[in-house]
């Protein structure tokens, strides 16, 4: 009898599960996207939930590319409403979106994020140029007018003015938006600083040169000195703390939160800070975006209010809670424009004109 009761309850439970699975009207905003934008969106989501008393949005960190895939998969309750991105939407992603009927998108520039190269406070602080960063970390570098596999093992070999210290840099894996940004902002710009590429620039037309840079300056070295450390930035912090000769690449917010353990490497004498990133004097910073599916506005409850909260002065303003988390805020004028565009649900113009 006992067995029968058990079987019966199992069947009833199973039926309940199936029945409950049927009802799925969505009362929460769904957000995906970049792990760099994640902490900021998290902050707004929690604040929105607290202020309105409604269910807080579900925020998922999928990486910029993964987020775009989910965001662009279509319109409707089953798809995400908002995605965060640590770079602008690519043309290919715009096409994917259009193909799936996601044509009305608002692009919101929420602020800037600096990429920092950091070292343990016990270690040696460096002052590098982007060219030196490229020479230390690229897979192939120009030596005597030819591109060869990177021969440099110590910073002194890269440039005589640098200390004799083994090159050892922990960085993000290729799936990460941080990696994309680092390659674009530090490596590409770095190789353009070198004479080898400068002479090429004279020889080739603009488009061909761009292609040439992309082909030759994008690969990080695989022979040891550059170490892919996974998406977990806290682990990099721990490793740097344990090994003062190692350097690490990550978003500025991690440096900001770990000031007692880490010191920043200067880029051409400029240390990353809220001020130097905002005014552009610190060389490695990137814009952060939010993409909103306008077809969902007014359909998914609270989406408009959420966007309004995101672009409010309390959130993205100079003393807002996003700056507390390490976001570098926009200059006043740009911010006002962004706020208007976001609340008016202006369409994205990046690829339309």
């Amino acid at each position: 009898m006992k067995l029968k009761a058990m079987m019966l309850s199992t069947v009833v439970g199973l039926a309940a599960v199936v029945a409950a699975g049927q009802a799925d009207a969505r009362d929460r905003i769904q957000i995906v996207g970049s792990s760099t934008v994640f902490p900021y969106t998290q902050a707004v989501a929690e604040e929105y939930g607290n202020i309105t008393g409604k269910a807080a949005p579900v925020v998922e960190s999928t990486g910029t590319g993964g987020g775009m895939k989910i965001f662009c998969s279509g319109v409707g309750e089953k798809t995400a409403d908002v995605t965060g991105a640590s770079r602008a939407m690519k043309p290919s992603e715009w096409e994917l979106c259009n193909k799936n009927g996601v044509t009305d998108i608002t692009e919101v520039l929420i602020g800037y994020d600096g990429l920092s190269i950091a070292v343990s406070r016990k270690g040696t602080k460096l002052d590098l140029t982007k060219g030196q960063i490229f020479l230390a970390l690229a897979a192939e570098v120009p030596v005597n007018g030819k591109l060869v596999a990177n021969p440099y093992k110590s910073w002194k070999e890269v440039d005589a003015s640098l200390p004799d210290l083994k090159i050892q840099v922990f960085g993000p894996p290729p799936t990460s938006g941080t990696r994309d940004a680092f390659v674009e902002l530090a490596m590409h710009k770095g190789c353009k600083e070198l004479d080898f590429f400068k002479t090429r620039k004279g020889e080739l037309d603009k488009k061909a040169f761009k292609k040439f840079v992309k082909a030759n300056c994008s690969r990080m070295r695989q022979d040891g000195p550059f170490i892919e450390a996974g998406e977990n930035d806290n682990l990099i912090v721990q490793r740097l703390d344990a090994d003062p000769s190692a350097f690490g690449i990550f978003g500025y917010s991690f440096l900001f939160e770990n000031q007692d353990k880490l010191a920043a490497v200067m880029i051409r004498g400029v240390e990353p800070s809220m001020e130097t990133i905002a005014d552009g004097s610190y060389g490695i910073s990137r814009p952060l975006f939010l993409y909103i599916k306008n077809a969902h506005r007014g359909v998914i409850a609270g989406l408009n209010e959420f966007v309004t909260e995101y672009v409010s002065e309390e959130a993205m303003g100079p003393d807002g809670y996003l700056s507390e988390r390490g976001l570098v805020v926009l200059p006043d004028e740009t911010r006002a424009q962004v706020q208007d565009a976001a609340t008016d649900s202006s369409g994205m113009t990046r690829y339309t004109n």
Binding site: K2, T10, D24, Q30, E46, D319
Partner: protein, 431 residues
């Protein structure tokens, strides 16, 4: 070969000879070595476990307590909407009360800096308290609020105070104000029940595991309800009904194979089938449970088959002999006798599922959700994915929270495995 004695020839061996004794010594030596290797292996395993647990505790113990402040707040009825106490200027109210406790605040910037020492959750706690009991309006009520994470870390000694100001997260001013509060006896460090009873938050001082525990519970419930009956049915068929032929062999090989498939594969399957084909909601424990049941199913089938096999044939034959049908034999005799073993296997399978992370990442159960899940289709995280999220958060407080969450997860695993062992001991029958 020729010097071997013929079989029927008796050989006298001198057991006391030097050579024979050396042989005996060597055999005893081998035995001793085998024993020591085994013991060494166990010691090594225990040592590694010890290192793991010690390192978790040494980092995580600080997360089990939380720095609080005892703060009398005057609840100004003029600042609250009388019709809807939910709407009110609670933050300035709390901040004023807090800042007024401190001396040496001269400027607006100082006020702002000081207000940040208090957790942002304080004004919400005040609001909830007033909503629950509107009679508090116009009175001065004493609350205990959590302090913000940097102060919490300072109080716990994680943030050093004797280093230059630019090398730590708290400024000299904040330390001076904090010392004033300590001197007044306003700071306390009670057990952080919020670790278990609060949902996730971006503030380490407010974040808790309740959402993840409920998410794991619902996912395991779904997983159990699907894999337990299905596992038993499959095992009963294979063991009691199926003919032994090529097809059942193939099925058996595949079941064993399924048990060894990396879990991330099931995650991809869940993403492709449950989310994209069936259109089930992302981040829902229902999908998590379905995906996990794919992993648990082979474990349960294998455990059930083993327990069914262990029931002696004499029981079956006796039952058949008094005229029971096959159905009666199985349902009345074999299955109840095999149940302890089946339950043990099920619990071990569920414990594995509880610790599984990879498939849940793919179906979106690693989202940031600030409320506790209310059902199997409500978005939720699970314990291992919550650990994953916290491990990746920049705030210092989450380092300790991560270790604490791992300890909580280990606690659940130990409990489940202990129940499995208890069941086995309690109901196991020797034939």
């Amino acid at each position: 070969m020729s010097d071997l004695p013929a079989i029927n020839q008796s050989v006298t061996v001198d057991w006391s000879s030097e050579k024979a004794q050396r042989r005996v010594r060597r055999r005893y030596g081998a035995e001793r070595r085998l024993k020591w290797f085994g013991l060494g292996a166990i010691a090594m395993a225990l040592l590694l476990l010890g290192v793991l647990v010690t390192s978790l505790i040494s980092v995580g113990y600080t997360a089990f307590v939380q720095t609080h402040i005892t703060l009398p707040v005057f609840i100004d009825a003029a600042k609250i909407n009388p019709d809807d106490p939910f709407k009110g200027k609670y933050r300035p109210m709390v901040n004023d009360a807090f800042v007024n406790m401190l001396s040496g605040i001269d400027s607006k910037a100082d006020r702002r800096l000081a207000a940040k020492m208090l957790s942002r959750g304080a004004s919400l706690m005040l609001r909830n308290s007033v909503v629950d009991d509107p009679a508090q309006m116009g009175k001065t009520v004493t609350f205990t609020f959590p302090m913000a994470d940097p102060i919490d870390q300072l109080h716990k000694g994680v943030t050093p105070r004797d280093v230059p100001e630019d090398q730590r997260r708290v400024s000299d001013k904040e330390i001076a104000w904090y010392d004033q509060l300590v001197a007044r006896g306003a700071i306390s460090k009670p057990i952080a029940w919020s670790l278990i009873f609060s949902a996730d938050s971006r503030f380490p001082e407010l974040a808790g595991l309740a959402g993840a525990i409920m998410g794991s519970f619902y996912a395991l419930l779904v997983c159990f309800l699907i894999s337990f009956p299905m596992g038993i049915a499959a095992a009963v068929y294979l063991e009691e009904f199926a003919p032994k032929n090529k097809w059942t062999d193939i099925i058996e090989v595949n079941i064993n194979n399924l048990a060894a498939v990396p879990s991330v594969v099931f995650g991809l399957l869940g993403l492709a089938v449950f989310l994209q084909v069936f259109g089930l909601p992302r981040s829902a424990p229902l999908v998590g449970g379905l995906t996990l049941s794919l992993m648990t199913l082979p474990t349960i089938i294998i455990a059930t088959r083993a327990s069914l096999k262990a029931v002696p044939p004499s029981i079956r034959e006796a039952a058949l002999g008094v005229g029971a049908s096959k159905h009666q034999v199985i349902m009345h005799h074999v299955l109840p006798l095999a149940m302890p073993g089946i339950l043990t296997g099920t619990i071990i399978g569920l414990a594995q599922a509880l610790g599984e992370t990879a498939p849940l990442l793919l179906i979106g159960m690693n989202a940031f959700i600030t409320s506790t899940s209310g059902g199997i289709v409500d978005p939720a995280t699970a314990l291992p994915t919550q650990i994953f999220i916290w491990a990746d958060s920049p705030e210092r407080g989450f380092v300790a929270k991560t270790s604490a969450a791992i300890l909580v997860l280990l606690g659940f695993l130990v409990t489940m495995n202990a129940i499995a062992i208890y069941l086995r001991r309690r109901f196991e029958r020797k034939w």
